[in-house]
């Protein structure tokens, strides 16, 4: 689904004539299969967000090639990237990134609006999804009138409304308390399970990493560790993954 081959990235900072090159990622080779949940872990500043931003098309790699669903996206124009994002990606951000002047309903609706879907179909899809995610009653609320957990659920709904094959999430639980975090993780697992959505999740939270099929560790811009998390977890004394899966199984009943 997602293939990175020899991807490197460096930022150029400073004024003209006094530029400084900041290398961030070095020779990343990474494959994410369809239906996988992949966690990217690593210390702050290790380049996780940069990696995800490359996949999102917000920045271009300095070297290497990125293929999404078999398509080389490295050379897409800005407009092509926009259409590509709309068609293939859902995004969940740490700080939700809801549009403050729009209601929860309008925020969820936005991708449909951008896609040019109108009328009854649009309304129906938004209503159904908001009900599924349990935010139907907040439809008329503005983001500032919602709690962090509610906002994140709105943003999840927005990321899913077009039923994208891939969801990219940068520290999705970073602004949530543990209760809301658990709900979010349940949701991710369910979506992955039921709809086969591929997730790439950046986190420094072990709890989040525990729901992943695989964790990738970044250190100083290099991939140091790729592991099947469940394999690793089998040897893990704390059995986090098992605990996580258990929780998710019960999640539906608890909610």
């Amino acid at each position: 689904m997602i293939e990175l081959a020899n991807v490197s990235h460096q930022f150029i900072i400073g004024k003209k004539g006094k530029e400084r090159v900041v290398p961030v990622l070095h020779d990343i080779d990474l494959k994410v299969a369809k239906g996988e949940i992949v966690a990217i872990v690593g210390r702050s500043g290790s380049g996780k967000s940069t990696l995800l931003n490359l996949m999102s098309g917000y920045i271009r790699p300095s070297a290497g090639e990125i293929k999404i669903g078999g398509r080389d996206v490295t050379k897409l124009s800005e407009g092509e990237w926009a259409d590509f994002r709309l068609a293939n990606y859902g995004f969940i951000f740490q700080s939700f990134q809801l549009i403050g002047s729009m209601t929860a309903y309008e925020n969820v609706e936005l991708p449909l609006v951008l896609k040019g879907i109108t009328g009854a179909e649009r309304k129906q899809r938004v209503m159904r999804l908001m009900e599924q995610i349990g935010i139907a009653e907040y439809g008329g609320h503005y983001p500032s009138e919602l709690s962090g957990g509610q906002q994140q659920r709105v943003s999840v709904a927005r990321s899913l409304i077009l039923e994208p094959p891939i969801v990219l999430a940068d520290e999705p639980s970073g602004s949530l308390d543990s209760e809301n975090e658990k709900t979010l993780l349940t949701m991710i697992q369910q979506l992955n399970h039921e709809m086969g959505i591929t997730f790439v999740i950046i986190t420094h939270d072990e709890q989040v990493a525990s729901i992943a099929h695989r964790a990738i560790r970044l250190q100083d811009g290099k991939l140091v560790h790729q592991s099947d998390y469940r394999q690793v977890a089998a040897h893990d004394e704390q059995h986090r993954s098992v605990a996580g899966v258990d929780y998710i199984r019960q999640g539906g009943e608890r909610e």
């Binding site: 931003n53 999102s56 917000y58 920045i59 800005e78 407009g79 926009a82 259409d83 590509f84 994002r85 709309l86 068609a87 990606y89 995004f91 951000f93 740490q94 700080s95 990134q97 809801l98 549009i99 403050g100 002047s101 729009m102 936005l110 991708p111 609006v113 951008l114 896609k115 040019g116 109108t118 927005r158 990321s159």
Partner: protein, 449 residues
Amino acid sequence: MKLGDQFRFVRQNMKKNKTRLFMTVLATAMGCAFLIVLASVGFGLQQSIVDNIVGDRLVTGIDIYSKDPSKFKEDTNLYDADIKDLQAIPNVKAVTYRNFIGQWMEPTIDGEPVTGDRTFQVDFQAEERAGFSLSAGRMPQKNNEVILGYNIRQQRDDQGVPSEYKDASEWLNKTIVLNVGYYENGVLKKKPIEAVVAGISAKPTKEWKMDQALYVGVDLLGQVESITGTQRGELPYVEEGSTPEQIEELLKQLPAPGGDRNYIEVQVIAGHANDVKGISEVLREKGYFNHSIADELKQVNLMFLIMKIGLIFVGTIAVIIASIGIFNTMTMAVTERAQDIGIMKAIGAHPSVIRKIFLLESALIGIMGAVIGTIVSYGISFAVNAGLPVLIQTFMEEKVPDGFLFSVIPPYLTALACAIALGVAMLSGYRPALRATRIDVLRALRRDV
């Protein structure tokens, strides 16, 4: 993204800062109104000076003298077929002519003789369309209705000095008896035709001119011709003591009635002064010698054209100044909404959609400004036309002629001003819109972290 949704976005955005929107629209409206009012003075003066003083009919009238002898060797006179030909030319409103009646039929009203100088057969319908002006009554609509010249009750003495004016309108709706002379067996006889005076022509604009004509329609001409048995009711010049046979001979030499009449004082009336040039060219091509006052007005109109262009140019500067406001507003709007734009781009809004939304917003400001500006300028124009003559009369003691308009707004001036306002608004919104599409996603997303 559908246009309806784009409009919804724009409306939502506009609601966010109503005061700013209001001020921007106000500035645009003022610029637009300034442009229209300023230019309308050029249009008004041109219309008032050219059209009113020279006279509408003269400006649109094209005199046809004859046909070009190099093309029509045999006969350069104008006949029925030519009148039809002239009527068929595009943009021709009417074709008028005068057709002399061959005798003064010694008309009487209430037994009093009517002492005019000639009888014209005219096409009343064409005359009406051409703007034949009356001082009293109406244009004939039925058969046997006639028009009297304004000065028909006046006479000139041997030195050409006219007698005192007598009001012809007293004869309105009275029966006029035309005594048509004709020869029967060599004897001159009279046969009366009764007609009704439907109207009195307008006072001639030139002091020295007198209108002492009697105007009749084609129906009356027909009746006259059937009585005399000659074309246009003409009678032969009969010498004293001619025999009936000689008179018969003379009568035979005259053209037969109803045949191909030939017309004089043919005038083609254009639908609009602007059409005159085109029509003259067509006429020249068809081989009609013609002349119009428009030929001479070219110079005057050119001067007004330059004046109007100058005024529109100055007015456009006002719109451009207003556009600085639009630019400012749109730039601020883009800055304020940078984060929202960033989010939209992040989830997949195409840059062209973002550009369209902002262009639409500046276009809407332009349209609102243009509409309000247009309404206001019509109001100002009306006020100027109503108020300025009064002011001039009070303070300068000079009378403004009746119907003199200082400000005229032709529809195409409105269209032009709106197009300029809209164009300038779009132009000034273009850079901010472009800036919006270039907003960096990551920087916008990072802002609130």
